[in-house]
Subunit: 336 residues, 2 copies
DNA sequence: TTGAAAGCGATACCAT
DNA sequence: ATGGTATCGCTTTCAA
């Protein structure tokens, strides 16, 4: 691969001049510029981004750490960041953190070594303290889908509690009173917050759940099916189910139908996340839209802004997002 | 951010020594090593990857160019490459090429500037000649999902023609004779190859299609629904449909059911790709598995290998993959 | 308008 | 075992 020296030699100018034309520098003679431009094109010169980054101390990449790309939810997150990257003529440097604290830490470190000054991290495994200290040393680090009070201005997160409340209000407004919940036994935070919000809203309206009608399973379709079996085996009637996420909800619906219940005529089902799946299912899923792409864009912009200003101007802004109810076909009013 | 000099100064050794311990260099005294290690930990030293790349002339990133991350198919592709990257302690540098030739070209160039020596490219818009010349100057460039004879040892691709054949054999073996096809009017290559393979297999078995029963639409769920309307409006009976991809197939099924046809009892439907969706649909989709993740891994390994050996050892290997029939619930034998 | 030269942070070769 | 130093490709003063 040819370097700036090659160009300089062939064009019979100094490397300084070449550098100027590469960067559209201010004072370059018209003829010199054209001569250099021609040589560059001829030999297919491409500036070395590493060398450039080394001297300018700034990187043209923005990093992302997510558990896994195959999950459409995280793919959307990455996509949001990528969009901002592209708008700023930057590229995405991606590390999957998998499920362990170790690999999350490793991924972040790699990004740091790359001098990647802006990056958004989705971490579920790292402890608060570690994240806080990381955030301190890396001003461009933004946490997504996680709220840590000590660094709240660096967090872009969804109000899961309120999400549960919205779901409850929707079901209640449809006259349902016999409510069931299917939750996840993984990653404690989100599921329990959603559940708490749900219960809190019921309480506010002087209703409450039958504890037996709260079951958990793995957060995927099969888990949803299993959970439904458990629910059904209790022989306690229910007319609506609030499910942890859409994948599970699809499982719940198919198990329900396999057992002779029609959705939504006999049982209403509401999911969470609004992933692609929910639009493709039959019946189409009523769910809570998780604006992950929008949040990711915000996080990326924040990360970028935070590196710009060396000042620790710590905007007092806070970045809480609310899920939005998307009424589709899997919920309907209780028919008596 | 602290540099190697800082460490050297504090530890009272030369930067050469620090460099040795960073790289687990061979000859370093035990005490010196520990002293340096301690200082590094204390001040949180992280080697600058850019400087490193500059001098070693090798990059620790592997690039990917895809149209879009939100499409699960491309997400899987990226995931396959990422897996190989991780195995080699590298990271993913990702550029979305969007739909235009310009942005595909731009994405590739950015990767090149980053000295990214290994990368896998999914390009549908760039012309053969351009890709060929690119491949010539970048030995680590591997094309995925595209076959160009002149650089066939740099291509990892799926035999779409044969895929059509497999679909036809499956439907024929189930006694179907009234066949319909729903294809895509986008990106000419894949759809038409699949269709040609389908027809060729029919011909081989002395069958043929009614030309009216071939319709096209956009390659998504809605397109599938629209296409089905068109099909139905012809008032020509058919008992099986070969659909361009899974998303369309889901649309076909729901339109069919909306019009009173049961799947698979009245009409069998077979998709293509085997994306997540196909396992979540009801009935579960019979489809052709596109081993994209496996292909992506292969492509990444190839890219890596090609940069290693400076020799143009041009293995005469070729990398054609075959789709695999996945029988699920949307196809069944014709019942008379 | 152009060139010379000093670094950016690391590696690696040559001494010692 | 350790240190000195040239070098990687580029940007950026400072002179001319």
């Amino acid at each position: 691969m040819s370097t700036i020296k090659d160009v300089a030699k062939i064009a019979e100018v100094s490397i300084a001049t070449v550098s100027r034309v590469v960067n559209n520098g201010p004072k370059v003679g018209e003829k010199t510029r054209n001569k250099v431009l021609k040589v560059m094109a001829d030999i297919g010169y491409k500036p070395n981004a590493n060398a450039r980054a080394l001297v300018t101390q700034k990187n043209t990449t923005i990093g992302v750490v997510i558990p896994d790309l195959t999950d459409p939810f995280f793919a959307s997150l990455a996509n949001g960041v990528e969009k901002i990257a592209r708008q700023n003529n930057m590229q995405l440097l991606l590390s999957t953190g998998q499920v362990s604290a170790d690999s999350e830490r490793r991924a972040i470190n790699l990004l740091l070594e790359r001098q990647c000054d802006a990056f958004v991290v989705h971490s579920k495994k790292l402890a608060d303290e570690e994240l806080i200290s990381l955030a301190q040393q890396a001003p461009g680090l933004i946490l997504i889908d996680r709220f840590i009070e000590a660094i709240q201005h660096r967090c872009v997160w969804l109000d899961n509690f309120e999400g549960g409340g919205i779901a409850a209000r929707h079901l209640l407004s449809l006259q349902h009173t016999q409510l069931a919940c299917v939750t996840s036994h993984y990653s404690i935070d989100d599921p329990s917050l959603r559940l708490q919000g749900f219960s809190a809203e019921l309480a506010r309206q002087d209703k409450q759940m039958v504890p037996e009608l709260i079951v958990d399973a793995e957060p995927n379709q099969q888990g949803g099916e299993l959970a439904t079996q458990k629910l059904l085996s209790k022989h306690i009637p229910f007319s609506a189910v609030f499910v942890y996420n859409d994948a599970m909800a699809i499982g719940v619906i198919s198990a329900l139908e396999d057992n002779g219940f029609r959705v939504p005529q006999d049982v209403s089902v509401i999911g969470f996340d609004d992933v692609l799946l929910s639009r493709y299912s039959r019946p189409k899923l009523t769910t809570l839209h998780y604006p992950i792409e929008e949040m990711a864009e915000k996080a990326a912009q924040l990360a970028l802004a935070n590196c710009e200003q060396v000042s620790i101007h710590q905007s007092s802004e806070t970045f809480k997002y609310l899920p939005r109810l998307v009424k589709r076909e899997s919920t309907s009013a209780l028919s008596l």
